[in-house]
């Protein structure tokens, strides 16, 4: 066998027994060995595992200074080279939950180790962090702590030892949102009719896809003086050079193209075309300005309505583009625009 698996355990002020609300502003500190629930955890993990240290932080300090607090925790544990990180369980504690969540995510990512926590389903930390760590479903209080900690220990062990999860294991933690294809007995059409009957007869059924909630981004501040603003043009309408030498595919695009439009008054159909499988390209090929209105924007620039047009046009094809790619393109383009002092963007989608 060899050395024991090194575990770091995280607790808040209450479970570490240093006090109640009055200790909620405590900065992160570290103690050797296990404390409080950690003793139970150590026992349930078994003799091949050792809780070498326990990190403690007050819930308010963590909530109000998250970034700093996380860094402080990193500094405390870096030299210990942990193999596993366990936080909580936080049950239904509204600040403790997110604290366990943010640390599980941060420590797991930074040190490349499995990170496990435990929360009640209504704990906001569960929804916030279930995708970023393994958050075991617990009761809403410490009443059944032994059962809850046992489930956490089970998942933690299987992660460290690379043991496949059983169906029961999978049901023990909040879904992380990975959807994988599999083959089942009935074709989709038959499942559709089955579900139709169940729904009409008010019998319980399980939808195969829950409507997703998209992340909302706080809108950026408005442009105060449009007449001095530098506006960039971006498109996912599939604008490319005539003949498509850039090889922009019409669907599931894997790249974006940058065009120098600083000397152009409009997009000429002798220089540009479009390649986007999601719409009839005829009109756009005839007049690419229908997709990217450079001609109009230049007119506004001359009239002084806008300050200037950014010299680079960014183009990709948005047909069936995976969200991973469009996010990546967006991030890269966003950085470039930021570096180039662009004040606003007109983005055309088809």
């Amino acid at each position: 066998m060899g050395a024991k698996v090194k575990v770091i355990h995280y607790l808040n002020q209450f479970f570490s027994q240093i006090g109640g609300e009055e200790q909620a502003f405590t900065k992160p500190f570290i103690r050797e060995g296990a404390i409080g629930p950690g003793l139970l955890l150590g026992q349930l993990l078994g003799e091949d595992y050792e809780i070498i240290s326990t990190v403690v932080c007050g819930d308010n300090y963590m909530a109000d200074n998250t970034e700093q607090a996380v860094q402080e925790v990193f500094d405390l544990i870096a030299d210990l080279k942990p193999d596993l990180f366990i936080a909580g369980p936080a049950f239904n504690a509204g600040r403790y939950g997110p604290a366990c969540g943010v640390l599980s995510k941060a420590v797991g990512e930074k040190f490349g180790i499995p990170a496990v926590s435990g929360m009640y389903e209504e704990n906001p930390g569960a929804e916030m962090y279930r995708k970023h760590a393994y958050i075991i479903k617990t009761n809403d209080s410490a009443r059944h702590m032994r059962k809850d900690v046992a489930k956490m220990a089970n998942i933690a062990r299987k992660l460290v030892e690379n043991i496949e999860f059983s169906d029961e294991d999978m049901a023990s933690y909040f879904k992380q949102g990975y959807r994988k294809n599999l083959f089942v007995e009935k074709p989709g059409a038959v499942r559709a009719v089955d579900m139709m009957l169940q729904k009409m007869e008010k019998k319980p059924f399980v939808t195969e896809l829950e409507m997703p909630k998209f992340e909302d981004v706080m809108p950026s501040d408005a442009i105060k003086e449009m007449k001095n603003a530098k506006i960039a043009l971006v498109t996912e309408g599939g604008v490319c050079s005539l003949g498509n030498p850039e090889g922009l595919v019409a669907s599931r695009a894997d790249k974006y193209i940058e065009f120098d439009i600083s000397e152009m008054d409009r997009l000429s159909n002798e220089r540009f075309q479009v390649n986007h499988g999601g719409y009839n390209n005829t009109h756009a090929n005839n007049n690419p300005n229908l997709i990217v209105p450079l001609d109009l924007m230049r007119a506004y620039e001359k009239e002084g309505k806008i300050g200037s047009i950014h010299g680079t046009l960014y183009s990709t094809s948005g047909n069936g583009t995976s969200l991973a790619n469009s996010t990546r393109f967006g991030e890269e383009i966003a950085q470039k625009l930021l570096n180039d002092g662009v004040d606003g963007v007109v983005l055309t989608a088809t």
Binding site: V217, M218, P219, I231, N287, L290, I291, G344, T350
Partner: protein, 75 residues
């Protein structure tokens, strides 16, 4: 892509036809385009009418950039 640009603090007007999609994915300044194959224009109508339509869509998108908002708008 609009969201990632908005995230770094640069306001984005997204001109698109199927605005429910932009609304669902959380874009903030959404402007209704004319139609899928020709978001900023309408080659099926007379030139003067088309010029007016194009100006309308583009002015709206610039207006959106000048409008301070706290939640998503669709023009």
């Amino acid at each position: 892509m609009a969201k990632e640009i908005d995230k770094v603090g640069i306001p984005v007007s997204i001109i698109c036809t199927i605005t429910p999609i932009a609304e669902t994915v959380g874009a903030n300044r959404i402007v209704r385009a004319v139609a899928v194959p020709y978001p900023v224009g309408n080659p099926t109508v007379a030139q003067e009418d088309e010029r007016a339509i194009r100006n309308d869509v583009l002015q709206k998108s610039l207006s959106a950039l000048e409008t301070q908002i706290t939640q998503s708008i669709t023009l």
